[in-house]
């Protein structure tokens, strides 16, 4: 008798619950415009394993907002608005990135910038898309960010300010083949990081399509400090070029160990190198090597030079690519708000998607109806202890 008593509510519960659809409606509150202020959210990695990225991102964001407000604010459809920045830490964790995004949405932001790492940006983008709040990631290069996971169609509210992994890695491969004239290319990459792994795979595919498959395709895991076994194998395979699409905190150790083990050829990197810390950490070991980046600090346009000076004055260090891309993400956003002419998220989304040409610190961007911009990459060389412009790669 007691068993039946328990069974009935149990069955009823399951039936009831199964017939409930989870709340899929975003239900985002309208954008806050109290006191002629627009609220923009920043979802960034202030703590966790890449706090440097978070810090640069926040610095650039604060600078962008300050510049705008000092210049009188944002003119939208005849009214002037100031912009207020709301900063949230996503702790470099997927669940916190989601929580931060939800919090920003609930606070009534007009749009959100960030997260930067793809592993945080992708979950956050689901929130943005279902809440219909535009989101721009300054730095995430994973192609999956802007594409719906289930239907494969481009998302309507998710954008990025940088080029994708595929574009960059293919450009790197072509440089290695055509300019460095490498016949026996080798790769060492972090297999536990999606950006590195994705780039390494595209690099390999491009090499194979060009008729020069890699002679060594070595892997390591984030956090490794010793790469001697992999590098010894690369040296043994008589590689004449080495692709290291790895984070700037790991590359110096890799390069130093490679040289110590007898590798003498050129080294190619990706945008993950682009923090000037890499020069300090490598203490000269990177002299003469190449990497792709989002912009060239020495070939800077007046706009870019202006940004670099202001950033250095405010934060006592040179801006890295995260900072530059974040600054551009804001610039892109502000421009799109102006174009839209109304404080409305859907209009903002349309304006972003159809941006014909935005001239940013990191070059010219064009959006062709999706969230991925058409942008060039630059190849830089480390010369005289500085990043020096070498070449431009156009899509």
């Amino acid at each position: 008798m007691k068993r039946l008593l328990l069974l009935v509510p149990l069955v009823a519960t399951i039936a009831l619950l199964s017939s409930c659809k989870p709340a899929t409606e975003g239900g985002a509150p309208p954008p806050k415009t109290t006191g002629d202020t627009l609220l923009i959210g920043l979802n960034t990695e202030l703590t966790g394993s890449i706090p440097v990225v978070g810090r640069s991102c926040r610095n650039a964001a604060e600078l962008a907002v300050k510049d705008l407000n000092d210049a009188g604010g944002l003119e939208v459809g005849g009214r002037k608005f100031k912009v207020e920045l709301m900063v949230e830490d996503n702790e470099d964790k997927a669940e916190s990135a989601t929580a931060a995004a939800q919090k920003l949405v609930a606070s009534g932001v007009l749009a959100m910038i960030g997260p930067n790492a793809s592993r945080n940006a992708i979950p956050a983008s689901e929130v943005a898309e279902s809440a219909k709040v535009p989101m721009i990631s300054p730095w995430s290069t994973n192609p999956k960010l802007t594409v719906g996971a289930r239907d494969g169609k481009p998302k309507q509210y998710v954008y990025r300010a940088c080029f994708t992994d595929e574009f960059q890695a293919a450009a790197d491969a072509k440089f290695v083949l055509n300019y460095l004239k490498s016949k026996r290319p080798a790769i060492l990459f972090d297999v536990s990081s999606e950006a590195n792994k994705g780039q390494a795979e595209v690099f390999k595919k491009t090499l194979e399509a060009g008729g020069t498959p890699p002679v060594a395709f070595e892997t390591y895991t984030s956090g490794d400090k010793d790469f001697s076994s992999q590098l010894s194998r690369i040296v043994a395979a008589k590689a004449d070029s080495l692709f290291l699409p790895n984070y700037y905190s790991e590359v110096p150790m890799q390069v130093k160990q490679a040289r110590r083990l007898g590798y003498t050829g050129p080294i190619m990197g990706s945008d993950a190198w682009s923090n000037t810390e890499i020069l300090k950490l490598s203490a000269g070991a990177l002299e003469g090597q190449y990497f792709t980046m989002h912009y060239a600090p020495d070939r800077a346009t007046p706009l870019c030079k202006d940004f670099m000076t202001k950033y250095k004055a405010a934060y006592q260090q040179d801006p890295d690519d995260v900072a530059a891309l974040t600054y551009d993400a804001f610039g892109l956003l502000f421009e799109a708000i102006r174009t839209a002419g109304v404080v409305d998220r859907m209009a903002l989304g349309d304006a972003l998607r159809n941006t014909k040409s935005f001239e940013g610190v990191t070059g010219r961007m064009q959006f062709k109806g999706t969230g991925d911009p058409v942008k060039s990459a630059v190849v830089l060389q480390v010369k005289g202890g500085k990043f020096v412009y070498h070449d431009t790669v156009n899509p």
């Binding site: 669940e95 989601t98 536990s192 999606e194 994705g198």
Partner: protein
């Protein structure tokens, strides 16, 4: 006329169902927004996790530091099921099955971990559990079929507040009944003194297997709910950091106490989320948020080492015969 006992049961059922109704209706009202709903779900998931870890660390007195591994197994199993094996139209109906499957596979993993625990205890077992956590993470990273280090994206958002509520209620019910059963009391006997427990007839091997299996099952369930909430899981979500968080919640709330686990989970989640706006208002940079949590833990340990609830328990969770004021039945002569 209903006996006291039946009426008591009916009242409790009604209360639980009310709670369920609230859980179903609340997200649809304007009283809470999706952010608050998300935080409530996180609290619920953390509650299940904390209760599960408390079984091993509190009631059995072991020191498991790798529970995130069980969570990972549950998360990945259920995600793989709903992504690859269940057709979209049936998703909502099969979701509970998927959760249970995640828990079940996790329980098998738990049983595997029980074997080393027969011979090792204390600090050594801690390492074994840590090793286990890292092996699972490493294995997942090396399995391209489940996305490898990139993880699985596009998991459907099937976790509702209602399901989380059901999971919490079920976990509490299961654990409460287990702990007060013969086997469960054997477990606390093992904690107090393993040799003596053996002498009074406790089959320690059976108890250990039961505890690890049950604990892993619950952690797996929590993992499944987690996966279907944030819609994206990768091995990095289930490392030592997550295990450490679980430890903090258990010891914050109090060992060997179900109420303590619920409290610990709630306080910890709310604290971290609540610090976001608090620090913003105070103008302090968000990095200090991560400093506050361990600081509070240290202070708590120094001034109240047994956690908030200590070894005590809410009246609700004790068996009726043990509540204060009720005389224990004498054995029939």
């Amino acid at each position: 006329m209903m006996s006291d006992r039946t009426r008591y049961t009916v009242v409790r059922m009604a209360a639980l169902l009310c709670g369920l109704a609230i859980a179903i209706i609340l997200p649809r009202t304007v009283l809470i927004n999706p952010y608050i709903e998300l935080v409530l779900k996180y609290i619920g998931i953390n509650m299940v996790l904390t209760v599960s870890l408390n079984l091993v660390n509190g009631y059995m007195g072991e020191f498991s530091v790798g529970h995130a591994g069980f969570m990972a197994v549950g998360a990945y199993t259920s995600a793989v099921l709903t992504l690859f094996f269940i057709p979209p139209e049936w998703e909502m109906w099969c979701f509970p099955l998927s959760i249970l499957a995640g828990g079940a596979v996790s329980a098998v993993a738990g049983v595997l971990l029980a074997f080393p625990s027969f011979r090792t205890r204390g600090d050594y077992l801690a390492i074994v559990t840590l090793a286990f956590n890292m092996i699972i993470k490493s294995a997942l990273e090396n399995m391209p079929a489940v996305g490898g280090p990139r993880g699985l994206t596009g998991i459907h958002k099937l976790t509702t507040l209602a399901w989380v509520y059901v999971a919490v209620v079920a976990s509490v019910w299961i654990v409460r009944n287990f702990v007060n059963s013969n086997l469960g009391r054997g477990v606390t006997a093992i904690r107090d003194d393993e040799s003596v427990a053996g002498l009074v007839g406790v089959n320690s091997r059976r108890a250990k297997v039961a505890v690890f299996a049950l604990s892993a099952f619950l952690a797996g369930v929590a993992g499944a709910l987690f996966a279907h909430e944030i819609q994206f899981i990768n091995p990095r979500s289930f490392t030592l950091i997550k295990s450490t968080e679980m430890l903090v919640m258990v010891y914050l709330g109090g060992v060997a106490s179900i109420g303590g686990s619920l409290l610990g989970a709630t306080v910890y989640t709310l604290l971290l989320e609540g610090l976001r706006p608090t620090l913003q208002i105070l103008g302090i940079s968000q990095e200090w948020r991560q400093v506050v949590a361990p600081l509070m833990l240290i202070l708590l340990m120094i001034f109240r080492p047994r956690g908030i609830m200590g070894m005590r328990e809410f009246r609700l969770f004790k068996p009726r015969d043990e509540r204060r004021g009720k005389p224990v039945k004498e054995a029939e002569p």
